[in-house]
Symmetry: C3
Subunit: 476 residues, 3 copies
């Protein structure tokens, strides 16, 4: 059982990983999984930088690919005492020395990730995509680094080649409303490229009037849209214009992330009044929150008109540790979830648009207690509502099983969003989708083994979840 | 695996459905289930219309029996775009054409229910009660409709025959305090009927002084009870009188459903003052809520005196979608749960009556996070408190397992209510109780297989749960 | 299956209890468990009275050992109608008659504990420590009582002998800041004793300025510490002094239990003002809460300086049933959990000290919804934060499994506290630690069986959890 340093532990993926251990159930799960494992990937929400695919330059080094930009990876190292600096966070491109040092830190702390999906994804990437055969450790770090660096220099490891190899049929990025989407346009115009890469409209910051810099942001929104954003009516027109611009570049959804999902409307005059105060920097925090809720309702109204699927990722305290945020920027591992609440906050929206034939509203949460209590009951009545797949901290084997267990009995499978990888780590895309397919196969197999579902229906459902369902929800 | 339209998929119930899949555990579960499967059904809380049993007229059609009045069924069709009108909701008796169309809509969307208890119940009813042998679908809808309609015309499918066949030893209905209970009286007086059908006192609306129509309601309460309900003291006397009336007609429990379960008392003069304001229509919402909490405490006091078991179903936003409520009425699928809270809200009640030998208080929730956090700890100390079985959205196999897992370690089995079907769908009663017995057998079998409980004790517990326990809790 | 009264059911412990039932998974779990089952016990937080070990007098009787002081045991009897008086609660030493009667009540209600960890612990203690071979019941109560009483009179059942037999390498008690720790000192000075028994600093009451008696408490704190506690600055100095005193007697941690874990600071002048008002008995409840949160932040600051590990047990309504508290005192079974909330309340503390190299902050909760939502994300970023093991109502097999499932995917194993028994029931210590080891072996075995972890790493982790981890977190 002890690890021989001269003979490092091997790294092997078992074909039945994540499937049920009971042999009778596993046999069913294998059959279901075989039917979906090689189907193309639809990735309707994520954070990949489209320039990577336009420019198609090789990934710089293993640290850039696996460590530095991925807060799933860096946060647990940080928790164990590794400074974010040492991992290259917030420092731009790293020297070879720094990149190797960051990679070595990951390998030296490989044990930290035992039992986590990060470990599962990293192992799958290393073995399946890069052909690594030994377990990362202090002893093997440099050899693996060299192996990976060599692979990254090959043409078949450049972004476009991997995109094809991953069988991604559609990839959505996440973009600022003022983005000119030139990269997306260039990709469409590129005759050597045929992949589908579409933008997603993400207007969060333009709804948060209490944040520093908001007046500047909406002023820029006015410039870009050609509307007068010194008043609320102009803000609405500007948003509508930018959504149309996004739609003309292929967007099919708009994403909204706020600490709560309140949608209480204001009187029009009150909305104007607060908006003016916010532009002048005199709105109170309470007023700014009220305005944001009013604006979110307005965004839902726009979705009923222009058809962008509306996704809400609610309930996170962003940048919990201000010193780290100040030094390393956002998305550095200390966004912490809050209690969720949907039933009352969404009521104004749903009373107006919950049965609107043109609205698709996908609700994501990090509060598991809302799965059976609020999300499934809402999606089980309102034609517009879908339960989003487990997200972020909950995008993990046991959490996904709990989610299926908590929501299926109220909404079945048809009122769910399909899998969303929501990642900025490009090489985890195939691995995350594969994990989801394995888990759904296992869940469905358990229903079959308990005689709650016939296998032909389980098979149909397994396929539906990764094909028709995301196409319907995200209008792809 | 593809369905041959000329040879529709068969509909068969496996004898081991819902039992553990591990063969060693399943064998234990089978033995436990065998000991309880045929025991009579005690149904201490539900919504069956007693007139059905008094008049004993055949069920009108399959839509009335399985679709139109059952919001468990209609809500998921609605979510998938089927208008409630098309299902006959809120339209009174349907024509044969409309009934057939509603039934066909259910069959065409049979896949929506995969993995849900609704599907499980419907399949069990169709096979076990009605002898259907093919899976519902667009292709088989009409043939099944005809099959069911033919069965419904037979004497053995009339309500009284089914009541006997289901082995229901006691059935509680849910009734308005002003109800004259003539139907219950007529059943008792009927020499050709020997079943036990008892009313339940459900005074919710009389405690909600902020609701439109409340002054009219309490005025009527005064008329029916012969008390002067223009003041609070008279309201109390009227309630006491009507409870006595119910008790004289066999009632053993009173049911209370409000958005919260606050029980903070008011000063007597303050209660009078708010009551008067409410009668005059000038009470504020906050005053009305305070009055309701005071009244709920008063109802607990009455229970200690007259012995009616007090059940609380707390934490639901009723009629979430007002447009649907306005058009189709209440109980049409859009009551949505809220966060639960019991520890502090119930404290005034429990400090007064929590150890009173005559009080039995059963707490139901739709917020799973309260299972281990509040309900089990309360029931694990207060002699008056019992944890209610999973209810509504949680009356489902996985949710029931989670409930047992979350509460048993704190309260064992003795502080639980026994199974409550809480249904208006008559033919689901045996099926729901059977589901519960299977799940409890599985849970107990797992305890045995993990060597946490000897099998003789598991067997005794399995029987106790469906016999002595509901008799004790509901004083039957 | 019926119990023959002349041949009582036997009481036997299965060697595989609590391990997974699937034979392939169980085989792995057995190997992991074998590696940890006999390792010494580290008990870094609990409520054993150290005088017991100093005086080493035999346990008085089975009631004192198993029933009367243990609210885990008495509460469920109370819920079932047994008065706390009849169990000897709050009555000091019992006569032999009273002790026997209390024991008999437990045996007569043995069925109440089916499925609970209390039952599991009691059975393990009776069999493994005391050699009981028949199941407790009305029929066997007296014989078992006599058997136990006989054992208790033997030298090898005296506290020190049991301490050795249990292989306890370190045992922390819980102590008032004004305690002179003479007992701990005497144990250290005793040449016939070599066990490690250390105090824990538990200042709760000194932070709750709204509680009756608080001015008296802080006055006494002033006397004991030699500081002037008539002002806040003196209170701080007094606390610092007492912490040093505890550290000089071996303490390595300070424990804090409040209804919430707010840490919002006050302006220094405002803290002084409220403190003065509180000493004068004129502070409002809101002011007292604000002061307590300020004080809790101050305690964290002290921990960064003196190195005491800070544990927080938050979110319990103590003495929920005031009549019982008045009659029987605290800790008599009616402390009831509240909703948990960590993300925002702890933010002031974590912004200041969350990355401080000298702080170790262990967070315990009774609200399972916070496991994946708040505790794991916090511990997954902040180097100071650890997720506390399931506590109290959650110190139970299924709850521990849910905890591992909910937190491991975010924090792995390294950010957890190791097992804490937190008990005043001395003989449950080995049994609780053994339960935890079995459950962790089962959890790790499942990861191995699902091919999410190699067995050599699972083995290393199983050992780490019970050796290095608690040593690191509690600086032992």
């Amino acid at each position: 059982m002890t690890v021989n340093l001269h003979q490092p532990a091997s790294l092997v993926l078992h074909p039945d990983r994540l499937l049920p251990t009971d042999p009778r159930v596993r046999d069913i799960a294998r059959r279901l999984y075989d039917a979906v494992r090689d189907l193309p990937i639809i990735s309707p929400h994520g954070h990949v930088n489209p320039r990577m695919l336009l420019d198609n330059v090789p990934f710089r080094d293993p640290a850039e690919l696996f460590v530095t930009p991925d807060h799933y990876v860096t946060r647990l190292l940080h928790a164990s005492g590794v400074p974010l600096e040492a991992l290259g966070v917030g420092q731009g491109p790293l020297s070879e020395t720094a990149a190797r040092a960051a990679w070595r830190l990951l390998c030296e702390h490989w044990d930290l990730y035992r039992g986590t999906p990060v470990r599962y994804w990293l192992e799958s990437e290393l073995v399946e995509i890069f052909g690594v055969t030994v377990r990362p450790s202090a002893a093997t770090a440099d050899a693996i680094y060299d192996h990976l660096a060599e692979r990254l220099s090959q043409d078949e490891y450049k972004p476009r080649a991997l995109f094809d190899r991953f069988k991604i049929s559609a990839l959505a990025t996440t973009d600022d409303p003022c983005d000119d989407l030139a990269v997306h346009g260039a990709l469409v115009a590129d005759p050597t490229w045929s992949g589908r890469v579409i933008p997603t409209f993400r207007p969060d910051r333009y709804l948060e009037a209490s944040e520093a810099g908001w007046p500047t942001l909406v002023a820029r929104l006015g410039q870009v849209s050609g509307e007068d954003t010194s008043n609320y009516a102009g803000w609405v027109k500007a948003m509508e214009a930018r959504r149309q611009y996004f739609i003309s570049h292929g967007a099919t959804s708009a994403d909204h992330a706020h600490t709560d999902c309140g949608t209480e409307p204001l009187q029009p005059s009150e909305a104007e009044r607060i908006y003016h105060a916010a532009v002048a920097g005199t709105a109170t925090l309470i007023e700014a929150v009220a305005l944001r809720r009013h604006m979110l309702l307005e965004m839902a109204r726009m979705s009923t008109e222009d058809g962008l699927t509306m996704t809400i990722h609610a309930g996170v305290r962003r940048d919990h540790h201000q010193p780290s945020a100040a030094r390393f920027g956002p998305d550095t591992g200390h966004d912490i979830p809050l209690r969720g609440d949907f039933t009352d906050p969404l009521r104004p929206l749903l009373e107006r648009y919950g049965t609107h034939p043109n609205l698709k509203l996908v609700l994501f949460t990090l509060d598991e207690s809302t799965f059976s209590r609020e999300l499934a009951p809402l999606a089980g009545f309102y034609p517009s509502v879908y339960v989003g797949q487990p997200w972020w901290f909950l995008d993990a084997p046991d959490a996904i099983r709990r989610w299926r267990s908590a929501i299926t009995e109220t909404v079945g499978f048809s009122r769910t969003s399909g899998f969303i990888d929501d990642t900025r780590a490009f090489c985890t895309i195939p691995v995350r989708h594969d994990m989801s397919r394995r888990l759904d196969s296992g869940y469905l197999a358990t229903l079959v083994a308990e005689h709650r579902l016939d296998e032909d229906e389980a098979l149909e459902t397994a396929v539906d979840i990764v094909t028709r369902l995301p196409q319907e929800v995200f209008k792809l």
